[in-house]
Every structure is written in C-alpha cells, then in structure tokens.
Subunit: 228 residues, 2 copies
DNA sequence: CGGGATCCCCCGAGATACTG
DNA sequence: CAGTATCTCGGGGGATCCCG
C-alpha cells in the first residue's frame, strides 16, 4: 500500500489517512477560523517547514478539503479556504480538541498559544459550559501569551473569532502559563485567579463569573499525575 | 521540538501528537472493541510492521491510553486493554469515523474490511439511524468480506460486537464491494440490494427494512465525483 | 507459538536557501 | 508573497531473528 494509506475500507482509516499527516489537523484548525494566505498559515504554525506546508495544502486540495483562490482586485495574493466537506469535519475536530484539552494541564517548555488555537479553545469551551442566557450582547477579549481572540455572547449563541474586538465589555489577559486553562477547568475560581495575579481583568469585572460559567473545559476525571 | 510534538499549548495539537502517529488510531479502534493480544492486533491490522506495533503500544501505554496486563491462570499471554482515558476518546473517534465514512463510497484496490472496522461501523451507524423501538430484542449478524460482527437491538439500545451470535434473527452477508455501504447510506434500498444480489439475507427477512432504518451512515452532501 | 527485538532500506519530515 | 530546491536525518516499512 502507498505509505499514507492503510488498506482498509473503513471510515476511521480514511480519516486517519488525511488527518494523520503531520501538521494536517493544525492547518485545518487554522483554516476553520477563516481564510488564510500561505504566509498567514506559516506564521500561525511556528516550526512548520515551508515544503511541508506546501505539500499539505496540495494534498488537502486534492482531498477536497481546501480550495485556493486568487483574491480579486489589486491584491493578487492567494487565499486558502476550507470547503463544505472540511466544515463537516469541525464537530470531530472539536471533539478531539476537547479530549486533548482535558489531558492538558500545564504548557510544556517552549509551548506557545497561537491565535487559531485560542479561538478554537473558546469555541470548544463555549460548548462545554452552561448555555448563556444573557439579556444583552456581551463581548469579551481574551489574551493568552501573544494570542488575542474575542467571543461574542448574544442570547444563547456564542461565537469566537480571532483578534481584538472594538469595544469589549470584558478583557481577560492571561500570561503564557496555565492560568487561563485552570480558570476554564474550574480548578481556579475567578476571584482567586485575579487575586493570585494569574489573570488580569479590565472592563466590567462583574462579568468574569459569567465568563467562567459560560466557557468550560474540564480536566479529565481519569487523569493521573503522569499524564500532564 | 521533538519531532512528534507541535510546540503549541492546544488541545487539538496534543491530540494530534498522539493520534497522528501512524497506525495509532487503528490500534485504538481495535482495542476499543475489546482487549486484544499482540498477535490479535497484528492479525487485525494487515500490513502493520511488527516494530511499529510494538513501538505504538509502548507509546500509548506511556500516554496513559493502554495498559498491558498478564492474564492469570495457565494462559500466560499478555493482553492490551484501553484505559478510561482512552474510553473518553471514543466519541471523538466515532465522529471521525462517521466523517470518513461519509466520504467513502467504493473500496480502493485491495482494501479489506476487518472485524474491528465492521464493529465500529455498526456502532457509528446505529448512532446515525432512527432510534429503534423494538418490542423484543433483535440480534443480527453482519458479514462483509472476511469480517463478521453482530449487533443486538434491545429496546432503544444498540450494541455492536465482534464475531458471530449464537442465534441471530437476521444475517446479512455482503461481499467485499460497496454493497453494504450503499445499503447503510440509503442509496440502495433493502429490496433492491437483495434483488441485485449485492447482499444476501438469511433469517427473518421482514427485519431487513428495520435494519436499514436503524443503521445509517449517509454520504456527504458535499461530495463531488473526485472525492471517492 | 506468542511476543517481541534487530537489521537494512528508503521515504518523507525538518531546516535552510533560493527563485518566479 | 508564495512557494520550489536541496540536503540531512529520523522514523516507518518489510523481513528476519530471537527468547521464554
């Protein structure tokens, strides 16, 4: 069999043939946040070799998950965009992200938080928290490490996006450490997190408790000390 | 960064570091059906190099997803078993399997159906079909290629397991082709499937329509001809 | 015979440089 | 900006061997 194939007529094997390629899921994660140029992807995936990025994009295009299209107008750059078929993958990737996050307590040496990972984390966390029932729309900006993302809580809907929001009601700034992760897990209460200085809050502080209730990613119940 | 790591403090990246390893998800798929010996795994994963299987099992054990334990008594062989942490992965793998199956119409040259893949397919298909409401327990044996699996429909619950069932109410035999896949997708009706000879049915034939309604894995709506 | 370990080959990932 | 070209090297693929 060709080395990336498994020789089994099995949905999971077919998925693994595509997503098991190195960097493939992270490329899709980034593109599921929104269309990106080649250099945007390279910047959002620190450490990816350029030839690997080029090869993966070509493969994902052949697999029908990504399309490349020239942007019209004066800007002649090329953007990569996910297809509907890749959109169908979002629930599965979110489930994977949720599982992985449940086994993740502390960043390893040198690990960073990227913009796309933060957006994905917020989206997954919104699915794991108590459904909001805000009377008015609340916007929130979250910073972790160098990454910035925002969330918009409107009624019962939560959307997460990259970058700043022009007029956030609440801004949460966490360092590169596990502060935000502990907050989302609920092992560190909102007040304690602020008191210990692991997160910094500006804006309407009274919204912080709501935030911690709306966004939730628990730690795995079956975690021993070894599986950091 | 070590070559299997991604250097990102991100749940999806952590998951990809484990599941992106070659053969890892198929090993877990097989073990999620039930405990297996080394040689059982090797037999159920045609083409896996022995060194890779040994290395993966060691890694999965270190990652806390697999435990190896000696079977007591006269049988001194070793069985591999999934941990609770790996059980938590089941929904995500099922979502991946469902997505992969949606893009899978026809077996490629030389592709086989294994027992574990058939069991997994039935479990995923049960989640995608109409919830059953059988008054009595119905058991069904399904054969595809060389693989045999069975399903037990009891009230609103469906369980899938490997191998035969002592007294099935219904037995469906499909060849190595896409016959069973088309039946599950609904593109081939039960009567047509029998009439065209792509599946063979023994037992209570009147249960076949119920089977096709209870087990369902649709084709992706966004599929073009290229993405077989 | 089950459960691996070892060896060799080679593909593909990683890193960097370079070009249309 | 958006990739190719080139090189090195670790890890996978395949076969064989070994040990209890």
């Amino acid at each position: 069999m060709r080395t990336r194939e498994y020789g089994q007529f099995c949905g999971l094997a077919r998925a693994a043939e595509i997503l098991g390629q190195r960097w493939a899921v992270l490329i899709l994660r980034d593109l599921l946040v929104g269309p990106r140029r080649y250099s945007d992807l390279a910047a959002g995936l620190p450490g990816i070799p350029s030839n690997v990025l080029a090869a993966r994009l070509k493969e994902l295009e052949q697999d029908g998950l990504v399309v490349r299209q020239a942007r019209g107008g004066a800007d002649r750059s090329i953007v990569y965009r996910v297809t509907d078929r890749a959109e169908e993958l979002r629930p599965a990737l979110d489930a994977l992200a949720s599982w992985g996050a449940a086994g993740m307590r502390v960043p390893r040496e040198g690990e960073v938080v990227t913009e796309a990972s933060l957006v994905t984390a917020l989206r997954v966390a919104a699915a794991g928290g108590r459904p909001p029932g805000a009377r008015r729309t609340v916007t929130c900006v979250v910073r972790a490490g160098d990454a910035v993302a925002h969330a918009i809580v409107s009624g019962t809907r939560v959307t997460a996006g990259p970058g700043e929001h022009p007029a956030p009601d609440l801004t949460i700034s966490a360092g590169s450490g596990p502060g935000l992760r502990d907050l989302l897990a609920g092992t560190l209460g909102p007040e304690a997190a602020v008191a210990e200085g692991v997160i910094e809050v500006t804006g309407d502080r009274s919204l912080l408790a709501d935030f911690a209730a709306t966004f939730h990613v628990p730690y795995s119940a079956s975690l021993t000390g070894s599986a950091a």
